[in-house]
């Protein structure tokens, strides 16, 4: 079947099997491999992308369900050389170790702060419960998200 999506502002049309998952449309058909596949069971959140601005786990969405919709992946956050404030905060706070969970963690955090720029630490921890970091580097991730939320409130986004 034909699936037409807008990814990071660019329109794509691909012919895929109905059973194709969104994450494989992004990675294999469109070639955007920044979105990782971790558990493949809706648990780890490594494959998190924004679907019409909201975080979803792209291993549990059919490409067909995204037809006609707008998707943002980790590749779509930076403006040229300028990192998105959430990416910058992850770098400044060393919010990553091995980096595998990072694309999903950043996308989940962007969605979380967009929904509620006033998040406190507890809400950040609960808001990221769908994203697992097996290096267990949560401390700096939470610090990064809180810092990025602050910059969002100050109008830097």
């Amino acid at each position: 079947m034909k699936v037409a999506v807008e990814v990071n502002g660019v329109a794509y049309e691909r012919d895929v099997e109905a059973r194709t998952l969104l994450v494989f449309l992004l990675r294999d058909e469109i070639g955007l491999t920044g979105t990782n596949v971790g558990c493949d069971t809706t648990s780890c959140g490594a494959c998190t992308v924004l679907l019409d601005g909201e975080s979803v786990k792209s291993c549990t969405v059919l490409a067909a369900q995204a037809d006609g919709r707008s998707i943002t992946t980790i590749e779509g956050l930076a403006k040229g050389e300028e990192l998105h404030p959430m990416q910058r905060a992850f770098r400044e706070h060393h919010g990553l170790q091995c980096g595998y969970c990072t694309p999903g963690m950043v996308m989940a955090a962007v969605s979380l702060v967009a929904e509620n720029p006033d998040v406190d630490e507890r809400q950040v921890r609960e808001g990221l419960e769908g994203n697992l970091c097996r290096c267990t580097g949560y401390h700096n991730i939470v610090a990064a998200v809180l810092d990025a939320a602050r910059s969002s409130r100050e109008g830097a986004w």
């Binding site: 998952l21 975080s55 786990k57 059919l62 067909a64 369900q65 989940a108 419960e129 769908g130």
Partner: protein, 273 residues
């Protein structure tokens, strides 16, 4: 993990959906948010040959104050039930429970109708709707019918919906006098090992238990004890009466019975009883 091949049909109206179900019968499954069905299909535990995607029927996404009850469209996502002002103020148990399903990404996709129609005995919303004494509205080729929640759950992943019926609306009485949902998990995004929902509706108390049987169940003994004047602590003692929960790697049957009693006591106390 990749599902088996299937035909994908996206419908533009409820009538089209019912038509597709009538045409394909047992071979077809409805797809809403997909957060119960797609994981099972990826594991090939579910292998429907036709998926009927009703996910874009936006007319089935709403929360409405209907005077004595709250009506929720079947395609309302957990995220929306969690934050909707009518749900938060008039059906606070549902808003609370919706906000504790899975994680934010899951709540952005999963729908209340999908959760109920999937009828996993470990999922949260079926237990909440049962405690509230809700009503489910189904539409099929011959029109609509109302199904009391107490007659909806038939067995493990089984409901009394006919193969050509679509769950369209969930109605729950307003319940603002006290409520609680106690969910025992080892990790925050997990399914309940045991859950207990309590809702106070018009002087009555509804109590339901999650993941202690093939379906969510009303704790009838607890409700009867409360209506004959028992304290919360005494009523909670009979929560496991008649239960024969199964054991798994999370809990033995006896531990589940223990959790049913402890969580029922906590839920009753939190609901102000």
């Amino acid at each position: 993990m990749i599902p088996v091949m299937f035909d994908y049909v996206r419908v533009g109206s409820l009538d089209e959906a019912i038509g597709a179900l009538s045409e394909h019968g047992d071979e077809a499954k409805l797809l809403a948010g997909g957060h119960s069905l797609l994981p099972l299909m990826k594991l090939r535990l579910a292998t429907p040959s036709v998926l009927v995607d009703i996910g874009r029927l936006s007319e089935l996404s709403y929360v409405r104050d209907q005077g004595d009850h709250v009506a929720i469209g079947a395609l309302t996502r957990h995220h929306d039930v969690q934050h909707d002002s009518v749900a938060v103020t008039q059906a606070p148990l549902l808003a609370n429970v919706a906000g504790r399903i899975g994680d934010p990404q899951v709540r952005h996709r999963g729908t209340i109708g999908g959760s109920l129609a999937h009828a996993d005995p470990a999922s949260d919303l079926p237990g909440a709707v049962l405690a509230l004494g809700g009503t489910l509205v189904a539409r099929g080729p011959n029109g609509e019918r109302e199904i009391p929640a107490t007659q909806f759950f038939e067995g493990f992943l089984e409901t009394t919906l006919a193969p050509d019926e679509v769950l369209v609306e969930i109605r729950v009485p307003k319940a603002t006098a006290g409520h609680s949902y106690q969910k025992f998990v080892r990790r925050s995004q997990d399914w309940a090992i045991v859950g207990v929902a309590v809702a106070r509706v018009g002087g009555q108390v509804g109590v339901s238990l999650v993941n202690v049987a093939a379906t969510p169940v009303r704790a009838v003994a607890v409700e009867e004890a409360l209506s004959s004047g028992a304290s919360a602590a005494d009523a909670a003692e009979v929560a496991a009466e008649g239960l024969q929960p199964s054991g798994d790697n999370n809990a033995t049957p006896e531990f589940r019975r223990h959790l049913a009693r402890v969580l029922t006591r906590r839920a009753l106390v939190e609901a102000g009883l």
